[in-house]
Amino acid sequence: MNGLDELYRDVILDHFKSPRGKGILHDATIIAEGKNPLCGDELTLYVTLDGERIVQLRWDGHGCALCMASASMLAESMTQQPLDTVQHMAQAVLDMMHGAALPTHLRMGDIEVMEGVKKFPVRIKCVLLPWTTLQEGMKHHDAHTAQHVSFSY
């Protein structure tokens, strides 16, 4: 459709139609729920940590194609990452959606294709929800007990 494939690039549609890392982790160290009450995007991230590294990350939820694809990209790029890299990557995505270039030293994965969404300001939040949810979840990772965080975006 005319122009539509510029917003919903093939990579995005592919993540939307075959989401990576979708599911639940029963032994998660961090469970973080994020919600955008305005449009109804909702997702939960399940993260297991091993010291200062993400061992596994799964997500579950429902929402628009951009939000779901973004969560899938996040899951794909985060597994086995050290926590400080995770923080940098999440921040880099936030910055990218507000105009900054992605840092070249981070292996960001497919998320870079989301840059085009900047041209559609109301949809920026859709892309960011998984990443801000992860950031919120990580804030509480110091505690040694399992954490359940939920927030509205």
């Binding site: 122009g3 549609l13 109804g40 929402g63």
Partner: protein, 411 residues
């Protein structure tokens, strides 16, 4: 006058434009309607030839502007069948009109334990003002439930309405599902227990002929921008006997009779409720919108929209992955259709349609409690006006079919 859709469409410059290279198909009329050239001309004419503040100057322009402003008041009174133009108050929008009733009538009359009866399908504009005043006065909010077909469930109305009920406020027409509510019946039930009836006609006034005298409602609110008028003008109709008793809503210039340093007396109605310089230009242009609608005829508008809505609902219902919310195909529905496409979020649907020049709305439509009742976070909403055509519905449906293909949802 026959209903000539081609001629009507020529009256609206925006309907001749293209969006992203496609002819505009505007199906977001419940959010705001488009503006005919005659209304646009009235606005430019006002600023070019008769701009002045009203009710203040003794000069020619002030006199002309005042006359024209008061002319709209009379025109509104005729349009809604009010006995007198003293019962017509100009506000910024329907929302402000409803707040006026809650803040003035509500604050002056509600006692702790009194009840306000609303419905589960209210727009936030006819919910939040009552939440605010109920909290302040210790009043209790009660709600007429909505059933799956989008109708109000009146089976337990006797347990919801009683001697403690002081205000019954409800929409004429759901801005989500197109449900038409039993206005007369609810007004009679309100009056039977001594309560006042407040009608949210923000959608209703744009689509159906109405008469406040026939309804016998106590208050009725609507917005000019949903009926071919400019933005920034709302109307509150109130029975004079209430308005005369009610305290002012906002204070300032225009609404006073005499002012001392420590106290004042108020102007007569309706001026008591119009503090400060009002939206003169837009009020004056609104008369032209009402004349325009009256020339076409609200009955003809309603008849055309009814057919179009029925056709759109049938076309949508024929799509396997589409769920329509609210009234069934055989039930009465007015101008508004909420729907979802299985597997595609409403934001993606409306974004995809936008690329085809089709404007619909996606979201909660300022009705979060109703969304919860329907068990969804958001829906798509196509809403129709009298200037829409069957061809536009076809364009909308084929764009929707292409959207399904694009997102890999089999039709």
């Amino acid at each position: 006058m026959p209903f000539d859709i081609r001629a009507i469409r020529r009256d609206f410059p925006i309907l001749q434009t293209t969006v992203r290279g496609k002819p505009l198909v505007y199906l977001d009329n419940a959010a705001t309607s488009q503006t005919p050239q005659c209304v646009i001309d009235a606005l430019t004419h006002y600023y070019a030839q008769s701009n002045a503040n009203i009710h203040r100057g003794l000069h020619y322009l002030a006199e002309q502007a005042t006359l024209a402003y008061e002319e709209t008041r009379k025109r509104v009174a005729t349009f809604i069948g009010a006995r007198s133009s003293r019962e017509v108050i100009f506000t910024r929008n329907a929302t402000e009109a409803l707040n006026l009733v809650a803040q003035s009538y509500g604050r002056a009359t509600l006692q702790p334990g009194d009840e306000i009866l609303l419905t589960e399908m209210e727009h936030h504009s006819n919910l939040i003002p009552w939440q605010l005043i109920a909290k302040e006065r210790g009043a209790v909010l009660r709600f007429i439930p909505v059933v799956a077909t989008g109708a109000l469930d009146l089976s337990r109305i006797d347990t919801l309405i009683g001697p403690r009920t002081k205000i019954v406020a409800f929409t004429m027409l759901s801005n989500v599902m197109g449900t038409i509510t039993p206005v007369r019946e609810l007004i009679q039930r309100a009056h039977a227990v001594g309560a006042v009836a407040v009608i949210d006609a923000a959608q209703g006034a744009a689509h159906r002929p109405l008469s406040v005298a026939e309804f016998d409602c106590d208050f009725l609110a609507f917005s000019a921008h949903k009926m071919c008028g400019p933005t920034g003008v709302g109307i509150l109709y109130g029975k004079a006997e209430h308005l005369e008793q009610m305290p002012p809503f906002l204070g300032g210039g225009e609404m006073i009779h005499t002012v001392e340093l420590t106290h004042s007396t108020w102007a007569e109605i309706p001026h008591k409720f119009e503090a400060g310089t009002p939206n003169i230009a837009d009020v004056i242009a609104f008369r032209v919108a009402l004349d325009y609608l009256a020339t076409i005829g609200m009955d003809k508008i309603w008849a055309h929209e009814e057919q179009l809505t029925r056709y759109a609902a049938q076309r949508l219902a024929a799509m396997k992955k589409v769920t329509i919310y609210g009234p069934g195909l055989e039930d009465l529905r007015d101008a508004v259709i909420a729907f979802n496409v299985k597997g595609i979020h409403p934001h993606d649907v409306s974004q995809a349609l936008d690329f085809e020049g089709v404007a619909i709305r996606a979201g909660h439509h300022c009705c979060q409690p109703l969304m919860r009742r329907l068990g969804v976070a958001a829906t798509n909403r196509a809403s129709i006006a009298f200037y829409n055509t069957f061809e536009e519905i076809d364009l909308f449906i084929s764009a929707l079919e292409r959207t399904q293909q694009f997102f890999g949802v089999a039709s």
